[in-house]
């Protein structure tokens, strides 16, 4: 029996589930880095988030009378859960990843119509939601490398050993100059910096692999990182005693995680390559501004959400020039062309 399909009759082998699997794979180095530095709590978070993501997605698809199996296997919900989990403090209470993932999948993704319809990055929206609602729990980063010594009893004394992340510490350095700040190990232990450097390296490794695999494209990450570095370099050059160095911005917080895994989210970002570049630049600028002068220690979530707002506009202003047309049609006003 001959079957009828419409052209084209061949397809690139890579489809969405594969893309999602590749993203998960690329997260491994970063996850390993986090685990080495902050203990297996991160793995618990991951597990909780992934399970919650799957259950929530299945439940809501049920409610919406959508086919459950097909959509679950696309892997997008699990990736959302994972991205949130790696951004959460390693020893956050169990309900933080659960609640956050539920928010990400149910509210930010499915309430807006499911895969492909969400205007905001689900993981970042959930992170912002948690940060605003539970600022205390969201700052429970343990001292790095100490769980090796303390073993599992370490969890019971977790409260005592929490340390500030580098960004947090730097923001609270008060009147100290940067030089003085770096000389106070009780403010920011060198271990902490080292830990975050390792984590950042993990994300970078995964990101480069994704680029090499052409799962993501260079425009958004390069846009974001170069905007952030340029701003940081400028202010650092002007006044190194009060502003952190570009390197510090690169390795601390979620900079590299977001550069390779968050701003490259196709759904909530700009869609054209040029637009993605602008999107990345916007995120980079906002991250620096919020980190330096804002109220929150890490700014990635808010920067990404703000740029999500701007994405449709970016799309309108980055329309390419169509073959055979003199000029690109750009802007919000569309002129109708006759067929």
């Amino acid at each position: 029996m001959l079957s009828l399909f419409a052209a084209p009759h061949s397809h690139v082998p890579r489809r969405m589930p594969q893309v999602m699997r590749q993203v998960m794979f690329a997260m491994l180095p970063g996850i390993i880095g986090l685990t080495i530095a902050f203990g297996p709590g991160i793995l618990v978070n991951l597990l909780l988030s992934m399970v919650t993501a799957l259950l929530t997605e299945a439940w809501i698809l049920r409610l919406r009378h959508r086919p459950v199996g097909k959509t679950l296997t696309d892997g997008s919900a699990v990736v959302t859960g994972m991205l949130l989990a790696v951004a959460l403090p390693a020893i956050a209470p169990w309900w933080i990843p659960v609640l956050g993932t539920f928010f990400a999948v149910a509210v930010t993704k499915q309430l807006f119509g499911g895969l492909g319809q969400n205007p905001f990055n689900p993981a970042m929206a959930a992170y912002a939601f948690l940060l605003i609602s539970f600022p205390l729990e969201m700052s429970l980063w343990p001292q790095p490398f100490e769980w090796h010594i303390a073993g599992f009893s370490w969890y019971e004394t977790a409260d005592a050993v929490t340390g500030a992340t580098p960004l947090d510490a730097f923001r609270h350095k008060g009147m100290l100059t940067a030089e003085e700040f770096w000389q106070q190990p009780q403010l920011l232990s060198p271990d902490m910096v080292l830990a975050w450097e390792w984590v950042a390296l993990g994300w970078a490794l995964g990101g480069v692999w994704l680029l090499w695999q052409r799962v993501i494209h260079w425009q958004a990450p390069v846009g974001m990182l170069s905007a952030l570095s340029l701003l940081a370099a400028f202010f650092y050059g002007v006044d190194p005693s009060h502003y952190a160095s570009p390197w510090f911005h690169w390795v601390s917080g979620a900079t590299l995680l977001s550069a390779f895994f968050i701003v490259t989210d196709p759904v909530s970002g700009a869609t054209s390559r040029l637009g993605q570049c602008f999107f990345g630049i916007g995120v980079g600028i906002l991250v620096y501004v919020i980190r330096t002068w804002g109220n929150y220690p890490d700014a990635v979530a808010f920067a990404v959400l703000l740029m999500n707002f701007a994405a449709p506009t970016i799309d309108y202003y980055t329309r390419p020039r169509v073959h055979g047309h003199r000029k690109a049609q750009r802007g919000l006003k569309q002129k109708d062309s006759a067929p």
């Binding site: 029996m1 001959l2 079957s3 009828l4 399909f5 419409a6 052209a7 084209p8 009759h9 061949s10 397809h11 690139v12 082998p13 890579r14 489809r15 969405m16 594969q18 893309v19 097909k70 696309d74 997008s76 499911g114 895969l115 492909g116 319809q117 494209h217 196709p266 759904v267 970002g269 869609t271 054209s272 390559r273 993605q276 329309r319 390419p320 020039r321 169509v322 073959h323 055979g324 047309h325 003199r326 049609q329 569309q334 002129k335 109708d336 062309s337 006759a338 067929p339």
Partner: protein, 694 residues
């Protein structure tokens, strides 16, 4: 813009799917065994359908013309391609049969049963005239008579395209040897064997078009064909060979033009508008065969490939040969045949019937299994990844086009340049969500075509309606004028005789009477007391007649609607009732008016005054009635309009329903206009009456 041949340019995007070309190039290009029977569709070009010039039972020779295209008035050449017998034998059937078509179309065909002799036309003596002595028109006619169409797949009549190139300045003659679709190797194999014929064909075209540049564009994956071409091209010849990188769709006309010259064909224009004529390799060889060897187009090279064949290869196939016949000779393995595609995997279309004939545009038969070709995955939501946009050679935003097409916003899709989409399928090839994008675009284009058609039709209907209305009004006015003239004459005679009868010396001093006597009588003061009522009585007669007609029509519509068992006969019933009321009202008015007229014909002025005074309330009452009628008619029109709008919005409305509603609207409009006219006339009639009264 000037073309720049100094380097190979690039086009936006493009994809590099697995080529699968080598599997069909291992065996040499040979003629396929002759079929016992050929089915030749009359429509084998993108132009007009040919008309059969043979009948059932006729004996035809190979190469004999069996169907021709009529040249339309005002055109120098026929916009279509002739069809020739591809084998000798008897015409056994002239019938409508299934033809290769994405929509499974049936079309008129000529069927020839072979006599196994394959005899060429006997009086086919080699003509002695040298083609180089031929005039351009003769050359074009020769090419047209050979039935040549674009063999790359589009099937545009070649002589028509060349005539366009001849009429305008051809700067660049571009020979398309890119053959960018995976699997297809027909041009490649043809070049390996017949490069010399290609050069001959190019010489014919150069003779005809006198282009400034001649370029052959070929993808760099055909090294053997490139070597053959290099050998065939004289060093001093003006032909330039441009090797372009292998990247689909480099063989797209617009893309190849951009690759070799850097020029872009402006949106909505043809290549010739920027001085480019693009011809496919196979077409040019066919031109050489037709002009130099006097052979019409009766066979073509077909790539027969795919994993359902034991010996994938290329054949010269006589047109009209059944696909099954061709596949069998390439060692068909039926159990592996799950997909049959005519054309390449990117732009070809799937077929389910092995008995379909090979036609002029069949460049490839791809017979494969689902494993090899890959069944399409399930369609998922668009994740706006932009992969499609990155590969689109037209630099469109396929994801936006998809969004608008899928949400029926076809105009919006058009404003995002849907019409510049060449349907190459690159976007659908890379889409990770497996969205059949090209299907959406085709559908949107179809819908837009329907919309434009409908808009045109509606415009035509409106114009027709208005013209008819104008005609009717004119006729009515003419009639009224004639009657008024007649009545005035009668009146004049009457009053004249009365004036003579009265013939008193005082009469001359009487202004009214003296002017009354002066012909022609139209708007003179003395008649003003009489003529308005008289005129209005006549106009009312017309209105009366119109109302009677309207009533009859409404009655008829009602009966028809009842016969059709339509639901909303109530509206029509109301209409009939309205028409009846209007008729009654008009009858009342005319009764009153005829009273007035009979009263006013008496010459005494005071009587007239009195009479018109007495008639005023009656007239104003009937005026009111008319106004009510008019309002009712207007609301009927509004209602019908709304109904029509609703029907047009509803997706499931049938054409019959729409037509019925349109007829209803037209009826209501007529009714309204009649009522309006009656009202105006009545108003006109009453105003002067009242004036004279005061």
């Amino acid at each position: 813009m000037t073309p720049d041949f100094s380097r190979v340019h690039r086009f936006h995007g493009g994809i590099q799917p697995p080529e699968h070309k080598q599997i069909s190039t291992t065996m040499p290009l040979q003629a396929a065994a002759l079929p016992d029977r050929v089915v030749l569709p009359l429509q084998q070009s993108s132009g007009l359908m040919a008309q059969a010039v043979v009948s059932v039972g006729d004996y035809v020779y190979r190469g004999q013309c069996i169907a021709q295209v009529k040249t339309l008035e005002g055109q120098s050449s026929a916009l279509g391609a002739a069809v020739h017998a591809s084998i000798s034998g008897h015409v056994s059937e002239l019938a409508t049969l299934p033809v290769p078509h994405p929509g499974g179309l049936q079309s008129p065909c000529i069927v020839i049963e072979s006599d196994g002799l394959d005899l060429p036309v006997p009086d086919h003596v080699q003509r002695q005239d040298d083609w180089q002595d031929l005039e351009a028109e003769q050359l074009l006619a020769t090419i047209g008579a050979a039935g040549i169409v674009g063999l790359g797949g589009a099937g545009f009549p070649t002589h028509t395209k060349l005539a366009g190139g001849f009429a305008q300045d051809t700067r660049l003659l571009l020979i398309n040897a890119a053959e960018c679709e995976p699997y297809i190797t027909a041009d490649d194999m043809l070049l390996r064997q017949r490069s010399a014929a290609l050069i001959e064909g190019i010489q014919v075209l150069v003779h005809l078009l006198e282009p400034e540049h001649v370029v052959i564009g070929i993808e760099d994956n055909k090294s053997e064909a490139i070597a053959c071409l290099r050998a065939a091209i004289d060093d001093d010849s003006c032909i330039q060979l441009v090797v372009v990188p292998t990247r689909y769709p480099s063989g797209g006309e617009k893309q190849l033009i951009q690759l070799v010259s850097g020029l872009e064909v402006p949106s909505g224009k043809r290549p010739i508008d920027i001085g480019v004529v693009c011809q496919n390799v196979g077409t040019v060889v066919a031109v050489a065969d037709a002009v130099i060897r006097h052979q019409p187009l009766i066979e073509r090279v077909v790539t027969v490939t795919g994993d359902a064949l034991a010996q994938p290869r290329n054949f010269y196939v006589r047109l009209g040969t059944s696909i099954e016949h061709v596949l069998t000779q390439a060692g068909l393995r039926p159990q592996q045949l799950q997909r049959l595609i005519m054309g390449g995997p990117m732009m070809g279309f799937a077929l389910t019937d092995l008995s379909l004939p090979v036609v002029k545009t069949t460049n490839c038969l791809l017979a494969g299994s689902n494993e090899a070709l890959g069944a399409p995955g399930e369609e998922m939501p668009c994740i706006r990844c932009g992969e499609c946009e990155a590969v689109c050679p037209a630099q469109l935003l396929p994801q936006q086009l998809y969004w608008f097409s899928a949400h029926q916003q076809y105009q919006k899709a058009a404003s995002f340049d849907l019409w510049d989409c060449i349907e190459c399928g690159a976007c659908a090839y890379v889409c990770p969500s497996d969205i059949p994008l090209v299907q959406y675009y085709r559908h949107a284009k179809d819908e837009l075509r329907v919309l434009t058609d409908e808009a045109q039709k509606a415009e035509q209907a409106r114009q027709r309606f208005e013209a008819r209305q104008a005609r009717l009004t004119r006729q009515a006015e003419e009639k009224a004028a004639k009657r008024a003239a007649r009545a005035a004459k009668a009146q004049q005679i009457q009053s004249a005789s009365k004036a003579t009868a009265a013939s008193q010396p005082k009469a001359t001093s009487d202004d009214s009477l003296s002017s009354n006597a002066t012909p022609p009588l139209s708007e003179s003061a003395s008649t003003s007391s009489i003529s308005p009522s008289l005129r209005s009585s006549q106009q009312h007669k017309i209105a009366l007649a119109a109302a009677q007609v309207a009533l009859k029509r409404a009655d008829k519509q009602l009966a028809a609607a009842k016969a059709r068992r339509e639901e909303d006969v109530t509206a029509l019933e109301a209409k009939v009732e309205q028409a009846r009321e209007k008729l009654k009202a008009l009858q009342n008015v005319s009764d009153t008016l005829s009273d007035t007229v009979s009263a006013s014909v008496t010459p005494a002025t005071p009587v007239t005054a009195k009479a018109s005074g007495s008639s005023t309330p009656a007239v104003s009452a009937s005026l009111k009635q008319l106004k009510i009628t008019r309002a009712a008619a207007l609301s009927a029109v509004k209602k019908a309009e709304k109904g029509l709008l609703n029907l047009q919005r509803a997706t499931d409305a049938t054409a019959e329903q729409l037509d019925a509603q349109k007829a209803r609207l037209a009826g209501a409009q007529e009714q309204f206009e009649a009522a309006e006219k009656a009202l105006q006339k009545a108003q006109l009639a009453t105003e002067p009456t009242q004036e004279s009264n005061s």
